[in-house]
């Protein structure tokens, strides 16, 4: 069935495609879950839709309500589309060091943007949003970092879709941001696939982003439960860029930079499986396509040029 009543109904059901050229062997195979095939082009459509539906159901959101959300981009774009179609006002708190395309998309959908300082990354966006929420008790902060509906979208959607397409799955690899994708999909797969490994790939940005004043300003999302994970990798911008380019050059998949970081972790576990002489079917998430990051310089010139261009930006 590929006909839908509206864009919102076209959520999920994304393709899982094999990577025959990047897979190390016939026994150790990589599979990409193409989440750019969602209504606004990212995996965040799932969380946005579930969070809005949950808030409507429990009466928090009523016609004309104002939604407030801290976001580095994709969640904001997804919420902006849902808010436009459902008749809500949306205010996004976004770090100033995010790409221009993300801002333009938000404005196109009619969202309002409040900028937070670049230093401190999304931590500052969260802090500013919490302050605004306290000043405006009538605004509804869905709060992706602590909203159970975020993880539930993946427990009910992403997880079952992957298992149906790849019953022989041995590893699931995804990006770690709000942790919603990994918590929801990871819990579902752990309940249904004995011995499955759940792997997190966390972007490692330039120094500016870690410019907190002290360690106690750090942030761990409320959704995060480390017992769901098997291992967690930190992937720097150079490795993420190399893999993003490899993905388009070798397999034809034009993905965003965070997906390059996820592929890097997926290949690390693939090589471990080869060394151990074990069979593996590794599903990883392509969170979005590369369009929104063209202006960052990620796809032009040498990898070193691109790495310099990305320094200080929030690329995931």
């Amino acid at each position: 069935m590929t006909r839908y009543d509206s864009l919102l109904d076209a959520l999920g059901g994304t393709p899982l495609v094999g990577l025959p050229r990047l897979s190390p062997s016939e026994d150790v195979r990589l599979w990409a879950k193409l989440e750019d095939r969602n209504p606004t082009g990212s995996i965040k459509d799932r969380a946005a839709m579930y969070m809005v539906q949950a808030a409507e159901k429990d009466g928090q959101l009523r016609p004309g309500s104002t939604i407030l959300e801290p976001t580095s981009g994709n969640t904001g774009i997804s919420l902006a589309m849902v808010a436009r179609l459902r008749g809500y006002r949306l205010i996004c708190v976004m770090p100033e060091n995010t790409s221009i395309e993300r801002r333009q998309l938000l404005e196109m959908y009619g969202a309002e943007i409040v900028s937070s300082p670049a230093a401190g990354g999304s931590n500052q966006a969260v802090a500013v949003a919490k302050q605004l929420a306290a000043e405006h008790p009538d605004w509804v902060m869905l709060y992706q970092y602590g909203n159970a509906a975020n993880a539930q979208a993946h427990y009910e959607g992403t997880g079952p879709e992957i298992l149906a397409d790849l019953p022989s799955i041995t590893h699931f690899v995804a990006g770690l941001g709000t942790t919603g994708t990994l918590m929801g999909t990871g819990r579902f797969l752990r309940e249904n696939v004995p011995g499955i490994q759940i792997i997190a790939a966390e972007p490692r940005y330039g120094e500016l982003v870690y410019g907190l004043r002290n360690v106690d300003e750090g942030f761990v999302p409320e959704l995060y439960d480390p017992s769901v994970l098997t291992s967690r990798f930190s992937v720097g911008s150079r490795d993420a860029l190399l893999r993003t380019r490899q993905l388009v050059e070798v397999e034809g998949i034009f993905a965003g930079i965070s997906s390059g970081a996820i592929l890097h972790a997926a290949l690390a576990v693939a090589h471990r499986a080869v060394e151990a002489g074990k069979r593996a079917d590794i599903a990883f998430v392509v969170a979005d396509a590369g369009w929104k990051y063209l202006s960052t310089g990620a796809y032009a010139g040498t990898v070193s040029d691109a790495e310099k261009a990305l320094d200080g930006q929030l690329w995931a």
């Binding site: 580095s72 992706q144 970092y145 870690y210 300003e217 750090g218």
Partner: protein, 91 residues
């Protein structure tokens, strides 16, 4: 035995501004004791009173989070790279 340890900006007041320092030790806890012997006080920012890793500090050995590889008991060898970072939000 030399292990490169990358220091985040917020902890460089303990390393005289150095972005990375060298240390030695066959486990992460031994390495932290070793760098604390030259950069006194840094251990207290990484490890809580109960002896566990600070909640908002992440340490990676060759890019892998040590909380999944044995935490402070994680084994180290010559040439390993250790990165210390504060926990920040994504999304």
């Amino acid at each position: 035995m030399a292990i490169d340890v990358r220091i985040p900006t917020i902890l460089r007041n303990y390393t005289g501004g150095a972005k990375s320092v060298e240390g030695k030790g066959d486990s992460l806890s031994a390495l932290i004791d070793d760098i604390d012997s030259r950069h006194g006080g840094i251990k207290g920012r990484l490890i809580q009173e109960d002896g566990s890793l600070h909640r908002f500090v992440n340490i990676y050995v060759n890019d892998e989070d040590v909380r999944f590889t044995g935490s402070l008991a994680t084994a180290l060898k010559d040439g390993d790279s250790v990165t210390i970072l504060p926990a920040v939000a994504g999304g």
